[in-house]
Symmetry: C2
Subunit: 395 residues, 2 copies
């Protein structure tokens, strides 16, 4: 039903390829799909790390990313959408394989009950295997990857994963282990502030599922020490950090979000997106006649900042908008979006109009990150091709 809604929105944009995200083969194990595009001779996969806590929008981001890369999707996303019944956590489209790092849990749920450790603890994750398998995939080799069953909490029969041109490693710890981190071509951290996490959990677990505020607070508090110790520190090593904070426009407002896309300078094959004028400092309230926004309004900003001692460029969107079609006006104010034509950013958002965050900065920044990843993939592939051609010519 979600997809139907998404296509309804899509029909408003003529040029968009309508084949993305048709879940026709959903449920078929990834490795058996003939759609899985093998690596071309000598091609090295581009490997992207995406870190975040569970329930923080990784799944939505994966939908946005795969949508932009196009192609048919086989295999579901992780447990974020409640799709626990699938046999695999791996998502595969024509070009991309998305591997959920929960599959590298050392113990099943019962094992963690014995150890007394959370899944956030590095001791509960097999980084040696993670490293070996990422390395193998980068070398063009097929791997046999464990499957962690989110419904039963069991470790199921491993699945065969063939390398594809793009491989996304998403989960709690993609940048924790230095060996693994060094294999990643580009890294992204989804940083949801404690206040927003609480608001989201209250909305989902209290308002929709009837849990008590006390139990929600207790579950957050229980996770926090390990989260702060093992997950949060990865953001300082990330190339792009998407920060999700409460709005600054109204201190009473608990639902509206201020989303900041922190983009590091000096990352190979990545040039930060900016608003209007590179290197300047800007605060911009779009014209209300061109972009309709509910209270407390919408404000964007762009500036240079230091993030853990590194030069960064930050694009912010505080607030929501009423009509996704009007986002093309915001798109016109952004440069270095890595889109291929004017309006492609808005189209990509419209294609997933039903997805969480499509009316605010979370959707916008995720989509910008997805275009950046496409651009990085294309640059690295073109560079590798050039090297190969030169090698052939000189041989």
């Amino acid at each position: 039903m979600k997809f139907t809604l998404s296509f309804t929105a899509l029909t408003t944009v003529a040029a968009f390829a309508p084949s993305a995200f048709t879940p026709k083969n959903a449920g078929v194990p990834a490795s058996t799909s003939s759609l899985n595009m093998a690596l071309k001779d000598g091609q090295t996969p581009v490997v992207i790390g995406v870190a975040a806590d569970s329930g923080c929008g990784k799944s939505t981001f994966m939908r946005r990313l795969t949508s932009i890369f196009g192609g048919d999707v086989v295999g579901p996303l992780g447990g974020g959408f409640g799709n626990g019944g699938w046999e695999t956590n791996t998502l595969v489209s024509d070009l991309t394989t998305v591997i959920c790092l929960d599959d590298y849990h050392s113990n099943d749920r019962n094992g963690r009950k014995v150890s007394g450790l959370t899944a956030l603890n590095p001791l509960e994750n097999n980084f040696d295997l993670m490293f070996e398998q990422i390395k193998a995939l980068k070398d063009g080799k097929t791997i046999s990857k464990p499957i962690y069953n989110h419904v039963n909490g069991t470790l199921d029969t491993p699945e065969t994963i063939e390398p594809t041109p793009i491989i996304i490693f998403e989960g709690l710890h993609p940048m924790h282990d230095e060996r693994v981190r060094d294999l990643l071509d580009f890294t992204l951290y989804l940083d949801i502030s404690d206040e927003v996490k609480l608001n989201w959990k209250i909305q989902r677990d209290m308002e929709e599922r009837g849990h008590s505020l006390e139990s929600i607070m207790a579950s957050i508090e229980a996770r926090k020490p390990d989260f702060d110790a093992y997950i949060d520190p990865q953001k300082k090593d990330s190339d792009v950090i998407i920060e999700v904070l409460p709005t600054n426009l109204d201190k009473e407002d608990k639902k509206t979000l201020n989303v900041r896309c922190i983009q590091k300078d000096g990352v190979v094959d990545f040039s930060p997106c900016y608003l209007f004028d590179q290197g300047s400092t800007i605060e911009w309230t779009p014209a209300p006649t061109k972009l309709s926004a509910p209270a407390p309004g919408l404000k964007m900003a762009y500036r240079s900042e230091q993030y853990f001692g590194r030069d960064c460029q930050v694009v912010e969107m505080d607030g929501s908008f009423d009509n996704l079609q009007e986002l093309v006006y915001v798109e016109s104010a952004l440069s270095n979006t890595k889109t291929k034509f004017y309006g492609e950013l808005t189209q990509a958002m419209l294609a997933l109009a039903d997805a969480p965050g499509s009316n605010n900065g979370t959707g916008l920044m995720q989509t910008l990150a997805a275009f950046a990843i496409r651009d990085i993939y294309e640059k690295k592939t073109a560079a590798a091709k050039k090297v190969k051609q030169e090698t052939t010519t000189s041989a």
Copy 2:
């Protein structure tokens, strides 16, 4: 010497016509110059009103304006530059005549000593004659205008003024009398805040001329009641108001200026200039690598405001810049500047690089106003020509 400096700056810009502002005929009464371009058959002069207190930059603005219209200048400006020895206050170039409204003083200096009124008082100005003569010029008739001698404080033998395509009425009261105001095609008010006026007077009269602070304060206080009663109220009737305020960037800084160009919406043949995006609200600190600015820095802004109940668009420049050449970067961020090619705004500033305010918002906003006036002139002339052609065709 000033002109030499100005041409030195000019050589850095190739396309600029170098003939503007060569004072070769200076001192020759305006009406005797063969360079004075007569009105074409049936042409109606476009009449612009410029209001401000004395010593507030009107003379500089006239230089900027006449420079943009081009052509040779005959006859000096008013007393602002200390050119009191000239026989006339009228400035004439190929297209424009600038009339100083001091020429309509009812009494000479001795007469005002008898009346006990200041020149700011409307009773000391002959609005009937002012109205009659503006009306006559608009009707294409030659007038015999009085001359107020700023050096001697006497009313000298009147001079003959022929109508030119553009006539500027500048002085204390161009918008005071409703009959006069109704004849003006476009109006501008130079609004220098009390604090800035005091700082300027301290700089000129105390630091350069050795006057005491007490005498400066006394002279300001003496003028203030009449200024507030008769001059200041004209700003609410102006199409554009250039507000000059102390900087907001450093409360201790007494020299740096924050200049606001308040542009009314709905003025015939005038569309406000804006920064980046029309109808939005923007604060912009230009990239320091592209525009070098001394402390306390430089910040621009753009927003919609209400000014005496009227919708306005406001462009602000707070702070100064080091290198006028770099202003082209600011120019690239402005739209509706009414320039004819990219860089013309910067060129016009460079042509008068020596003039006061050429390193800050006063020069920028005056130049923007000058381009707006050129645009208004061209639009009104084109419209009149079209009407005439249609009349001829249908006859």
